[in-house]
Symmetry: C3
Subunit: 183 residues, 3 copies
């Protein structure tokens, strides 16, 4: 049986609607955490947990100076070359070593900000990380940055939704997100 | 009367089209002004007023170092605790105290840039603020940042479309925007 | 001949679908390269070339501190006023003068990072630029920034898809992009 003109058009609409629904962004936010400054990393986590609380899917991609923030504070890893050891010593080892981008004043400003956050009931970076993990925020770590700085997978924090990946993986997630921010 | 197959499909299309049109971003741009550096705040206002001139709805969310930029230059507010007084003194008081992120050279670079902007007919920060207000650019100030730095609502500038809010309000606006930038 | 109810609805759907397909973002990414730091400019090019390899249309908009990165290393241009000469001397002359935002340590950190990138087979800025040109990445340079810093068109690099423009042109591209980042 031949299809009528209208039946054909209905078929066409159906396929067009399908391709549109694929092209629409998902209720997702993709954050690049490039900075390793306390203020910017905090902002990233406040946005991430806030978006998650609103029901958004959240992806954080840690790269460059953001990478050392995710090192485990206690774990020690051997077998590094000279450059790896140097970066390992100079860059912050996890959330404790992270400093303000301004008004650090030899650490005094950062300490003040941390005590102020406590007083005002703003969660610390460690608490933010725990909260993010609980809420299902996915964290990606840039493998190229780790390679450049000589970091090994074993020295990174334990986190449920942790993936090591490259820029292509991030772009894939960002493409289908409503919001993307470079922090 | 029973609906025919095609009539049912038409109903389905209608509801799908409706949900699609809701999922499409609005002709809107959402800017997070995190930085308090003259160069970055200027960039934010140039983008904001440019987008507004193109007919876009514009939302600027001032947070962290961006917050003190919106303090009124002349207003004095009492009743602050020690930390509030310290932040109040150390952070720029409005647009006049804002400095370049690079080549500030003890204020000389910033002064040079300002005189250069005047010579080249680039609007100053104050002029940009006036223009933005006139154009209907909406400004949000992050309440958590204000609380941390001990700023009070009374010491902020007079601006027509000024709202004090949290991260959720910003994310709501950003979700439905075509462009989002973290500056 | 009069159209039936269903025929009218089909017409309506067709026009709605058309306007939707125009409102959908293109498979495009728009990057604002505001920073002139080696780490951030590198990140911009890694994202740009990565996106291009995935088949995305890529637009980079160089503004403010990003502008001098695109100066040709060898070309000398005369006829500048005092301020133009000063900016010309103080700002990096092309990719060679670009430094890390952190751990520069008088140039030692930047040199270390460059040698490390070579060792780990990460492309240099110059190689990135060549790759971007080959891949068809479009580069825009902000005319207002050039004017402020006294740069002339003749002193910029040769690049196939180079355009001098203002903020409106960037916003136009960003509006129709899936991803926008302020770097």
């Amino acid at each position: 049986m031949k299809k009528t003109g209208i039946e054909k058009q209905v078929d066409e609409f159906t396929s067009k609607l399908e391709s549109f629904s694929k092209a629409l962004p998902e209720n997702k936010i993709a954050l690049i955490v490039f900075s390793g400054d306390l203020d910017r990393v905090l902002a990233a986590f406040i946005i991430a947990t806030g978006a998650s609380a609103m029901g958004m899917d959240v992806v954080m991609f840690f790269t460059f100076w953001g990478t050392p923030v995710l090192r485990d504070k206690k774990r020690r890893v051997g077998g590094k070359d000279f450059m790896g050891k140097m970066f390992g010593t100079m860059l912050p080892k996890g959330t404790d070593g992270v400093k303000l981008s301004k008004m650090n004043m030899g650490g005094m400003g950062t300490a003040m900000m941390k005590s102020l956050m406590k007083k005002k009931n703003v969660a610390s970076l460690d608490q933010m990380l725990d909260l993010a993990e609980e809420m299902g925020v996915r964290i990606f770590i840039c493998e190229m940055s780790m390679d450049l700085m000589g970091f090994k997978r074993e020295e990174m924090i334990d986190y449920k939704n942790l993936t090591f990946c490259g820029v292509a993986k991030f772009l894939e997630e960002a493409q289908s997100s409503k919001i993307q921010l470079f922090i």
